[in-house]
Amino acid sequence: MKIVSRDIFVFQEKDFFSPIRDKVDYARLLVLTARKLILNIEPASITATCSLKLIVDKMSRVFFYQEDKYFSVAFPFTTIVDRRGNITLTSYAGKRIDSKNISAVIAILDNVQFRLNPSLIDFYIDPNGIESDGLFLLEEIFQFEPSYIRFDLDPVLQNGKLHPLNHLDINYSQYSTYKLGLKETITKKYFENLQNINTECSFVID
């Protein structure tokens, strides 16, 4: 089992904890996570309260922790960690993921035309831009299953069994998301084991 953790600094929180509502949001989260993983810079002196954790066992998922809110998504890249802790990421199609194509993906996602019409087929490639480096990677990302799951402790919106204080939100789209109520707050460990096929299952008992 590979486990890689990274602190999320205060100024990066908006990158990782903005709500995910569609695949474009997922793609952005994914490449920003990849950027965070491959940049192994010495720990800063400032303290961070948030973190991310990549767990590769049979599954490959990345977990994000912010106080009482945890969520995780699939991380569909091959991860190789060398002896010094440096990380190499490759997409399943074999494309090496580096700073340049990460920036290229972000450039496409931020493009005004793309935001109006998120189509890679209609995307106009500026000959002087770096976007062409990101097209294939982004196309691959769009084909993956995001498998979003979030643990929520929500005293504000709490509403009996309709919106339990502790619950899991599964999937992100409005038309497909649903909740699973929890009797009590869960630990990070429990949240991780829940999604690991190599650990014992949890049971829904109604």
């Binding site: 940049l39 580096d98 700073s99």
Partner: protein, 661 residues
Amino acid sequence: MQADKNPSNAEFLKKLQDYAESKKSLIYVLSSLLTDQKYSYKYAQALIVLSPKNKIAIIDYGNKPAEFNDYVEDVLEDIGSVSDKYLYRDVVGRPRQWKKTLLETEITISDDINIEALFNGLSLKDESEKKKLDLLISLFIGSINDIDRVKEEVSITALDKVKQKIQLFDGDQTRFVYQKPDKKIITIQGLSGTGKTELLLHKLKDLYISDNSSSIFFACHNKILADSLRKRIPSFFNFMKVEQQIEWEKRFWCAHAWGFGKFPNSGAYRYMCAFYQIPFYSWSPQMTFSRACTLALEDIKAKYKEGGMKHAFTYMFIDESQDFDENFFALCELVTEKNVYVAGDIFQNIFDANISSSIKPDFLLGKCYRTDPKTLMFAHGLGMGLFEKNKLRWLEEKEWKDCGYSVHIEDKKFYLSREPLRRFEDLDDNFESIRIVEIKEKYRETIISLIEEIVKDNPTVLPDDIGIILLDNDNSIYQLADILEIQIQQKFGWTVNKAYETKERLPNAILISNRNNVKGLEFPFVICVTKGINNGSSYRNSLYTMLTRSFIKSFFVLPATVKSGLTEGMKTGLKQIIDRNQMIIEEPSETEIKKIRTRFEYRLKTQSQYELMMEIFKELKVDKRHHEKLFQVAQQLDMGESDSETMRHFVKDNLKYIKEK
């Protein structure tokens, strides 16, 4: 000079002109306010003499005190109303207030007047008075500044001084905007950063409001430029307090030169075809723009053989004229009633072939207003490889002059220098505008410490005052940018704007870019980073353009190794520029010039890596089955910018190993 010469003031004007030339100072002589071009006065024998750092002098040379007094009152009233219109009044105050300290009307001129003594009598000491004066001058000549930017207080740091410097037109610029043209096509040329487009806008505004029935077309070469201009013109008009609405596509068009079949207003040529009811051709390999223009020209002439031709436009403006050829200009000349104003870059790419065209422009803007002359000189020198044994580009004396250099040749040596700029005159003479920084350990540490230094020296610096430009082409620059992003956030708490992701300039964020996304931008501080200097022409040209993006200081950062390509020659070249304000370059010998020329002409045939390698394969008779492998190796090693000689060696060397297998 706007005032008319006549026998009674000729002597005085000539003396003034000589004085201005000998002192290299800016003096304006007007008979009325230039702003808005609507002010005129009955009394004609008075002159307004304006010069920065000296009181405004209104001079009577007709000796009619009563009428002269009316004249002065009128001028003051008008300048008061103009200063109110452009929101200057809060800063400069009412004429009643400033005329005590900033105005002199008691001067008489005689034939033996001493100009130097005259100006000594007018000179101002107080900094805030000088600033007010600059603002007043800008009102007189219509070089309106954004009053929020220049503010009231006198600034202290170098950064604020340059940022808040009040911009005034120089002689050439004033003449371009206000002089009545004596021919139909007016051309204006200059280096990039000389403010050509800005001048066109001033002229445009002037023509648009002074002639209510005029129709004007502003044509650019490409769509992107036209789009950005279309956005810029309304805000410029607002800023200049133009009260008239812009009547788009009735009186005013701003589009690219060609246009699309469906939309008559989409381009200059397209509109002409619709206007004259002649066939419109769209692009095809057989139909170049030049040919389309020739055909249109013939069609129009044939149609109106018997006369009766109407004009499509009153005026036309053409920007980036270097991208057009004469057929388009001829067509424009034919369909325009009054004048065609043409602005172009003289030297957009330092490897451009004919920088001095055979036709002399009517206005040549030699001064580059963006960059300090020292930085510009060093950037030219570095870009053209002038400090190296094998120079990459050589200009003739006339070409140097057209680029705004003063040239002095002695013993086969060229002494090249540039005049100082008003924008930087408030700074110390020895302020440093360019520095070579050698990296001792890590790129990031060097860059961070440079930012620290900038912040320390300029406490008012904002994140968006700094641009970091990574010159190389390979992937490592993107990693460096990612690391810098985090460290800058940690250290300074600044957001980072990676221009290759956002494609725009963001407020309050420090900009990091590769070399492709900084066109048209300028920063007070620029940090240019490279792994090593190479000889590729596109690299050298970027090097030149990137170093000149700054208007206070450029840092040229590269590793302290032999491989970096930084030579002693470059360092001494820079030292010379700093110490003596000039470049001293040995003239290359005949054979050298020939060599430079052939290499240069070779570069002009822009070849892709593929074409270049195929040519070399052919020459070396490389077996076809090895081609693919060699391509791959070349790509892996980022050989994309190599010249043919390097590439030839590369292919030869690698071929050995491929064959041995």
